[in-house]
Symmetry: C2
Subunit: 491 residues, 2 copies
């Protein structure tokens, strides 16, 4: 399968899709009659390049190539995926599909970003309806993992499997809805909340800022990690979900929401909301808000990654699937050349690793070195299973020298040498590079411990053997400059 995607329509959503594919190594071909399309997509892409590559802990593949094309025919040439993100008018979408079906490969998937139409409406009358699915993403598309994939009986299992595989491959989550419904799932919730929020503002109960605070200091943080039902399951306690529903169920017949009524969209209501929104957020430009949002999203998703939960667990799975491609070994057999320092990390500096000085903050150097130590431990056999059986290495001493700066979004690699590995001791030397530029060195003395007694103890024989084998191979290398050094002024 080629790794070429075509974007039909390149606004905020189409541009977000373009950035997702491009940064995951796909070539992206764009058709958008808007003369401003290239500039607009360029702005989305700049945001995406700032936030996405550092979301995970494994470097993304080299970017693909982005090209702009004057016709749909040209844009879809060689495309395995075509994403339609044109305005929400069914006649316009069907006109696009008529053109697409003339030129798109039969085995390509056509995904629609529509929130307003069901797949059966999009497919109606087309010969190869099987290749048309709803693939509804969420803004910012380059960071949010969710894609609602909505299909009909017309879609073959092969098309559905391919759609899921491609979406998963670019680090997203295909939520497959097998039964179509207006607005799919997530937007129905957004619609319910939006309607209620409009009433609250119109009736003067709360301002836009108060409503946002009610969400982000309360259920918003809960939902970010567990959603609705799991949150309530926990709230129900040991008595369980049935107990919770018995308590909460009756509220449904109370008149808590405005239900059927829809507030009229008068100029006054629009002015009221726009004015309150200016008062709340007007001191930030939209570009600033986009970047604040993205930094927050990256930070929160990475926090969830540390617990391997929710959106963080998705990202971890994506990282794990990409390790081989990024040149990272998981065991002795996968190490390309034992006689050279071992590549133990290849990543992009994430947004949450920088500080008020604008560069990667000092504790994240040790975070990176510690992750490289973990990688080396896994390679020699001290993996999660071994640790669960009761042995591990603890760091006793660390010496870091900072030689040069690095900023968020830049690629870093760590190469690791075993200086000594014998008995309980493991003496490591990490070098962190951006390209050929040496950024920092980390010298670390670790001791193998018995996790039950918390005292040092010899490792399993196969671990010591692997470690010794690497140490002996690395002993032929010249001693690293700076090894065994103490902090300068104290000598």
């Amino acid at each position: 399968m080629t790794k070429t995607a075509a974007m039909i329509g390149g606004g905020v959503i189409g541009g977000g899709w373009a950035a997702r594919f491009l940064l995951n190594g796909w070539d992206v071909r764009i058709f958008d009659p808007d003369p401003e399309a290239e500039r607009k997509i360029g702005e989305v892409l700049a945001n995406a390049r700032r936030a996405l590559p550092g979301l995970g802990n494994v470097a993304l593949p080299a970017e693909g190539t982005m090209t702009f094309h004057a016709t749909i025919e040209e844009a879809v040439h060689g495309a395995a995926w075509v994403q339609e993100s044109v305005p929400e008018r069914l006649d316009l979408k069907q006109k696009v599909y008529t053109e697409l079906q003339k030129h798109v490969a039969a085995e390509a998937v056509i995904g629609s970003s529509t929130s307003g139409y069901k797949p059966s409406q999009l497919q109606e009358g087309f010969e190869n309806a099987a290749q048309i699915v709803v693939a509804h993403p969420f803004n910012p598309v380059y960071l949010m993992p969710l894609v609602e994939v909505v299909t009909t009986e017309a879609n073959t299992p092969e098309v559905i499997a391919r759609a899921k595989e491609i979406i998963t491959g670019i680090g997203m989550y295909p939520l497959h809805l097998k039964k179509e419904i207006d607005a799919h799932v997530a937007d129905r919730f957004l619609e319910a909340v939006w309607r209620e929020a409009l009433w609250l503002v119109k009736d003067g109960i709360a301002t836009t800022e108060e409503i946002d605070n009610a969400i982000r200091y309360g259920f918003g943080i809960r939902w970010a990690q567990m959603g609705l039902f799991e949150t309530y399951r926990v709230a129900g306690g040991e008595a369980g979900m049935k107990h919770f529903m018995a308590q909460f169920g009756p509220c449904l017949s109370w008149p808590w929401t405005k239900l059927m009524d829809v507030p009229e969209f008068t100029d006054e209501l629009v002015d009221l909301i726009a004015g309150q929104s200016d008062a709340q957020s007007g001191h930030h430009s939209i570009r600033e808000l986009e970047r604040i949002r993205d930094t927050n999203l990256v930070g929160m998703m990475r926090a969830l990654g540390a617990t391997n939960w929710g959106a963080g667990a998705l990202q971890n799975a994506h990282d794990a699937a990409r390790m081989g491609e990024a040149g990272l070994a998981r065991n002795m057999g996968e190490v390309a050349d034992l006689s050279q320092p071992i590549l133990t990390q290849s990543r992009i500096v994430p947004l949450d690793w920088t500080d008020y000085n604008g560069h990667m903050t000092e504790s994240r150097y040790l975070d990176a070195f510690a992750q490289s130590t973990d990688r080396l431990m896994e390679i020699i056999g001290c993996d999660a299973e071994y640790i669960a059986s009761g042995g591990s290495y603890f760091t006793a001493e660390t010496h870091i020298r900072h030689l040069d700066e690095v900023h968020a979004g830049h690629p870093i690699q760590v190469k690791t040498r075993v200086i000594m590995g014998a008995g309980k001791k493991m003496h490591l030397w990490h070098e962190m590079y951006e390209g050929d530029r040496l950024l920092a060195t980390g010298e670390h003395m670790l001791l193998h411990v018995d996790l039950a007694t918390r005292r040092s103890a010899p490792p399993a024989a196969h671990i010591e053997a692997n470690l010794t084998r690497i140490a002996e191979a690395h002993a032929a290398l010249p001693a690293p400059e700076g090894l065994g050094r103490a902090i300068g002024a104290a000598r």
Copy 2:
């Protein structure tokens, strides 16, 4: 004002309030006729002790004392705050208030955890209605900052101000709603989403797990940091909020949500949801889910703290207000004794600082030491304002020795010595303790830099003078054990 709070009712919500007050240094007196109350509150408190103290970067005050009482009269003795969290029956609540008004001090605030009643309903017929407010929290109360404070004309400005001050003082956010409405604000949204979710499950569109994924991989993460309106403001782009509304407004008259209809709560529907929820989450006990939830909430809120945004910004403000109380100086004048190592950190190890070995992970030692360096920099005058003017210190070298382990939830303190401070150089020695137990030492060489050229340059005269003054005072102390040491095996 005393720091005594009384809890009337101690379930999950009352217990959460009790933990919030207790861990923020208040004495807590509890009345709950449930013979299981002490056990139940103990379980909530165990969760709270695990998660809350490490949420911020400044240690909380010493815990207050919790006592259980047989009567309301005894429980409210000396209370400045009384929180009513009894079951949602108006007759029961009014019976409690009748008893409360006999015994509570006139200047005390009575807050109700009610989600179902408006303050005017609670106040009706009471002589001192002024002291009764709705103070509606969100589960888990010990972590979620939001409290909806709903008042009526009967509440005096003094009572409202005191309520806000007390809620802010225990690290929460009082969202003051000046106009009462059924279910206040947040629960109206929850109700709208819950109703829609029930329909989607009942109609077989999506399972509970699919709905949770639609939320937590999508808008849940967005809302956790910006809420609804600010998210849409960003989505609207430079064209602004009016433009966004012009696009999205018409959807309101589309039949996207189920609106007026309420699904009947049949046994079948309850079984369907409970069964799906078991399939989704049943492999975790409720206690496990509570702890997973809390670890995630702490991690995400701390990620927001790094950007000083949303719930993280609230916590930062709470930390800043508590620095003096925790013995942390912000300038030379606040340092108690210059001749001794300076206390530069007093905190509880947060949940997100531990690793697969179950203890504080190595990079967080450097995170803690770096924060202590920042504190010392602020003390000598190298503060945010100075850094913005173009000067700062960069770390050139670090040597950490790990001497003992520490786990999440334990208190740590860092004491800092200036070994040398002259010209561009600053040589620091940090010692990290849990009580008298030395956990680690950090030796750091920093250079003052010109942030424009990124090269070393002398600091401002007042900074060098302050640094020299501390270095000279600390020179009289004996040299720390381990100073200037290189990593053992390499010597």
